[in-house]
């Protein structure tokens, strides 16, 4: 048995996925900032573009250009080099991220052969679905159909690729169990999404820089909006915590007659933040580890079901394009794993932006990523509070519910539970804000040269790397999700508690709370600048 009695506050910095999301995220983010000094080391990141088999005369969409290195479009100092990469950028991205993730896997003492093989297969499957999902029939929006010689397309934007990746992953996870098991060493949706969330922090910080390129006023609007999301997300999360947990606990105890500890673990799993909350609460109430493990299995499966249902529901039924940030915040409070939530938020972002463009015939265009940010912001606050909630619950349990003379809860529990990737998210955001407000002169003409060089570096990170890691998340989520888990008899009542609690209590309450705190927040219209 392992002796862990020498644990320190910094234990795990090189051995936990949470920390490796920070290293991968911030590592490439800071490398991207070398562009300030004219050194572009991130322009190789591959990115797909829409394509068709037969390009119409004067149109676009050649397969030979279906993937390109983002440096071709954004680099200020190495555009010539990155322009030549084309499809080779897929290999560059594979090799560079393959090396980076393998270093992480070595430090985390994973099975390296299986990881490298799994990473390779998952990466190229992801690229294949990314490619197929960008066929103009799936991805082209109505205003662009003619450019690809189409009279009709599904208009799903990048969402088609995400849905395809999830479907391919789910087919592997549910029909090719042996293969899924082989891939499991590299199918790490939480690692990938936490890394993507660090890149999302860069996106949030980049928004004012991007919009100030359109007009200085828009840059200020974006800054204000992101701060409002930050505050509203925190407030909504605190309110949701106070309603969710007691509600689910009462449903589990009074209606379904579950034991006290099981109800507590289930209450946290359904109402707070899925697996990490279930594990944290299991520890806090001193439940046998198997209780947390069972609840965690349920959480993972139900989160994917939510990912399939909710983006469409919020887009087409309510609140739709009237209150996009209410939809995003409600998503963050409803979907119980980081991976499924951020993925659902990204889908919602694409669906709502496409919908508003179609509804207004292109007169309204929203910037990409703000709706995703609203979904992730509430989720991040929930993650941050898990440690505090687990600490409070542990104290209540140890001192009140099952009083054990002499036992106390060390305050270091809060730090051990703290989601470390959040550090990366805020650092990326704040560094870019500091640049924007400091040497960037809030987007004034005298700061634009610097902001353009920052843009050349950050776009491959916030756009290319973020989307790639989102795609890897969708694929991996599918691979590790086995719907048969819901049928396993030992879950019994818990499946029904989860169903009732989630759809009849959590989601409606999340929508109400999101409405209270986010109603009326408007996304800036950038139509006149992008057309």
């Amino acid at each position: 048995m392992t002796d862990l009695s020498n644990r320190k506050w910094y234990t795990g910095m090189l051995t936990q996925e949470d920390w490796w999301a920070v290293w991968l995220g911030l590592g490439f983010f800071f490398i991207s900032l070398l562009n300030i000094w004219g050194i572009d080391l991130v322009g190789w990141v591959t990115y797909p573009t829409k394509w068709v088999f037969h390009v119409p005369e004067g149109g676009k969409g050649a397969i030979s250009h279906a993937f390109y290195a983002l440096g071709k479009k954004y680099s200020l100092t190495a555009k010539g080099f990155y322009s030549k990469l084309g499809w080779w950028s897929v290999i560059w991205t594979y090799v560079i991220f393959g090396i980076a993730t393998t270093i992480g896997a070595i430090c985390m003492k994973w099975d390296i052969k299986r990881f490298v093989a799994g990473w390779t297969i998952i990466y190229f499957l992801t690229i294949a679905t990314w490619f197929v999902g960008h066929h103009a029939f799936f991805a082209a929006t109505k205003v662009n159909w003619h450019k690809y010689g189409l009279n009709f397309a599904l208009s799903l934007g990048g969402g088609a690729s995400f849905i395809l990746a999830l479907i391919v992953g789910l087919i592997i996870g549910n029909f090719f169990k042996g293969f899924a098991n082989y891939l499991s060493e590299a199918a790490k949706p939480e690692w990938y999404i936490k890394t993507a969330i660090v890149y999302l922090g860069a996106k949030l910080g980049y928004l004012p820089i991007k919009l100030s390129g359109f007009s200085q006023k828009l840059g200020k609007v974006a800054t204000k909006l992101t701060f409002e999301l930050f505050i509203a997300g925190a407030a909504a999360t605190v309110v949701a915590y106070m309603i969710f947990w007691p509600g689910i606990y009462v449903i589990a105890r009074k209606i379904f007659k579950l034991p006290r500890k099981t109800a507590a673990v289930l209450g946290s799993g359904i109402s707070i933040c899925g697996v990490s909350a279930a594990v944290a609460t299991g520890g806090a109430v001193r439940a046998r580890p198997v209780v947390s493990i069972m609840v965690s299995a349920l959480v993972v499966v139900w989160a994917v079901i939510e990912l399939i249902i909710l983006p469409g529901f919020f887009t087409h039924i309510w609140p739709g394009t009237k209150d996009p940030l209410v939809a995003g915040a409600a998503m963050g409070m409803s979907v119980k794993t980081d991976g499924a939530d951020a993925a659902a938020g990204e889908l919602l972002d694409i669906f709502l932006r496409n919908k508003v463009q179609v509804e207004t015939n292109g007169q309204v265009v929203w910037p990409e990523g703000i709706i995703t940010a609203s979904a992730v912001m509430t989720k991040i606050w929930i993650d941050v509070f898990i440690g505090i909630w687990a600490f409070i619950l542990a104290m209540v349990w140890v001192y009140k519910v099952e009083r054990r003379p002499g036992e106390y809860v060390p305050p270091s529990e809060v730090w051990h539970r703290f989601p470390k990737f959040v550090i990366g998210y805020f650092v990326a955001w704040l560094v870019l804000l500091a640049i924007f407000f400091g040497p960037g002169h809030k987007g004034a003409p005298e700061g634009m040269a610097l902001l353009k060089s920052v843009k050349a570096g950050v776009v491959p990170v916030e756009k290319g790397m973020r989307k790639l890691f989102f795609m890897l998340t969708f694929m991996s989520l599918g691979i590790i999700t086995d719907f048969r888990k819901l049928k396993e008899c030992q879950f019994g009542k818990m499946v029904w508690v989860y169903f009732v609690g989630l759809f009849l209590f959590i989601i409606p309450v999340a929508i109400i709370v999101a409405y209270i705190f986010h109603h009326g927040m408007q996304l800036p219209n950038i139509a006149q600048y992008v057309q």
Binding site: M1, T2, D3, L4, S5, N6, R7, G12, Q16, E17, D18, S184, K188, P189, E190, W191, G274, V275, S276, A278, V279, A280, G282, G283, A284, R286, R288, P289, S292, I293, S296, V300, T337, A394, V398, R404, P405, G406, E407, Y408, V409, P410, S412, E413, H416, R417, I480
Partner: protein
Amino acid sequence: MDLTLSYRGNKWIAHNDKMSFSGTTLDDLDDKIKTFVVKSGLLKNKNMYKVKMYFNNAEIPAWIRQYAQHYFNRVLIIKARREDENDGFIKP
């Protein structure tokens, strides 16, 4: 004293490289540790003795570890009971 805590089968186990304790409940485990601390004289000339227990998180299944690496840690304080007290703590 620092111990690593595990749950195996139906038992809580606390151990380090020199000793090991087990109990079907945490209360049971705590009683055994308290008895050991008192009998081995670790509480001698002290008002209290701290036993830190760190859960062996390697026992959480690998697929869960990506969501949560940390289960729980606990500290047990064993106090020397004064003559006028009857609070359940063990007299050295």
